[in-house]
């Protein structure tokens, strides 16, 4: 898996897909319109597309998109 593809999938879960540029270093909680519902969509995308379960607690300890990607990569079989 590569981070560009992950970021594309991640960005699709956001409300203003067109206007938002996401980078590995992006602090996802600071994205416009980020809320608990967006988080649920990201968690569901990760489960659907990578077969990895990211719990609320694990998500809470993360700051950047890169960290999220690293977690998924480390758990993926």
């Amino acid at each position: 898996m590569n981070i560009d593809e992950f970021i594309t999938k991640f960005t699709l879960q956001l409300e203003d897909v067109e206007e938002t540029e996401v980078k590995p270093a992006t602090v996802f909680r600071e994205l416009p319109n980020w809320d608990s519902l967006t988080a649920m969509c990201v968690q569901t995308m990760i489960l659907d597309d990578y077969e990895v379960k990211l719990s609320d607690q694990e998500l809470r300890s993360m700051v950047t998109v890169q960290e999220m990607f690293d977690f998924v990569e480390s758990k993926k079989i």
């Binding site: 608990s36 969509c41 968690q43 569901t44 489960l47």
Partner: protein, 335 residues
């Protein structure tokens, strides 16, 4: 032998909880944002001295009146509730007496949430097909508001109280033939949607309000829902459920005229609809003035879909219920 869902009706309690009221208590969510995300503008809340049996009776009387049904013909009562009046007796016994249903009728409660209406149809069809009963009164009734913590913003926003009543019969010119079912269960999800205390395991436990980073989190004597776990479960289970239900009935997605799912909330329904690639005009949503009424969402939606002529004679409708348990069920209705 076939079974038919002849008629359905419902009742909502009088007290209204509006988005403005929620916004005044939880200023971080605007009334607009609530309606935009959830599809809900108001929900009804049972009065302090109003219980599931009270809502159930009103729904049943409305069903009888709207369809000229004589309660003397009812020979079985099924009541789906997770907020019964008592531990025992089964609330369905109380309904038999209060509705003037003959003492020769069978009656029982069963404890299911959002999958409850589909399971009720499955049980009722079983009773009809086995020749055990001919006119089954299926009621769903919940007063979840009684075990939702006042500080629980999410659950207070989503859930509303309601009851529905339906008649399932052996033969009917009106209504819909009940097709084949796909059912499923996964108790691994039990803890993600639960009222932990009050049953025998934790009967008289003194529970405390627990707070996290985002304020109030849970109180084990009240309803607890882990939103993201439920969302992930639903996103996985429902597409499979829909496909299994189609397969069992030898139908394709295109053969369905209207999809009526458990009305969890707009956000979740939109997500599932897109995942299944169901066109919006074939996907019924009814949340506006009642919210998520647990086992009553599907019958309330059916009632309104018929009133809006979205369901007509000849329509093929797919029902899908899913939630607490985890428990899920799907069925086809042929009108």
């Amino acid at each position: 032998m076939p079974a038919f869902l002849k008629a359905t009706s419902f009742h909502l309690p009088e007290n209204i909880l509006s988005n403005d009221q929620l916004n005044s208590e939880f200023p971080e969510w605007s009334a607009e944002k609530i309606s935009q995300k959830t599809g809900i503008y108001e929900r009804r809340i049972a009065a302090k001295d109003e219980y599931s049996s009270d809502l159930a009776i009103k729904a049943a009387i409305k069903l009888f009146e709207e369809n000229a049904i004589d309660p003397k013909l009812i020979d079985f009562v099924l009541l789906c509730t997770q907020s019964p009046d008592y531990f025992l007796p089964t609330t369905a016994c109380i309904l038999q007496q209060k509705l003037g249903i003959p003492t020769s009728a069978g009656a029982l409660d069963y404890n299911l949430g959002c999958s409850g209406f589909v399971y009720g149809l499955a049980l009722a069809k079983g009773l009809v097909v086995a020749g055990i009963a001919k006119n089954i009164l299926l009621i769903t009734a919940e007063t979840y508001s009684k075990f939702i913590n006042h500080q629980d913003k999410s659950n207070r926003t989503i859930f509303g109280d309601a009851a529905s009543a339906s008649l399932i019969v052996a033969d009917s010119e009106e209504g819909a033939e009940v097709g084949d079912f796909s059912l499923g269960t996964d108790g691994a999800g039990a803890e993600n949607l639960i009222v932990k205390n009050g049953g025998m395991r934790y009967r008289n436990v003194e529970a405390k309000d627990i707070y996290g980073d985002n304020g109030f989190e849970r109180n084990d004597s009240d309803l607890y829902m882990n939103g993201s776990e439920i969302f992930m479960f639903t996103s996985r289970a429902v597409p499979t459920l829909v496909n299994e239900t189609l397969l069992k009935n030898q139908l394709n997605l295109d053969d369905i005229d209207l999809f009526v799912f458990h009305q969890a909330n707009q956000f979740m329904l939109d997500h599932i609809r897109k995942k299944l690639q169901i066109p919006a005009d074939k996907f019924f949503i009814y949340l506006r003035d009642c919210g998520n009424t647990v086992s009553s969402t599907i019958p309330i939606a059916l009632y309104n879909a018929m009133a809006e002529k979205r369901i007509n004679k000849g329509s093929t409708v797919l029902l899908a219920g899913f939630g607490v348990g985890y428990s899920w069920g799907g069925v086809i209705l042929k009108y």
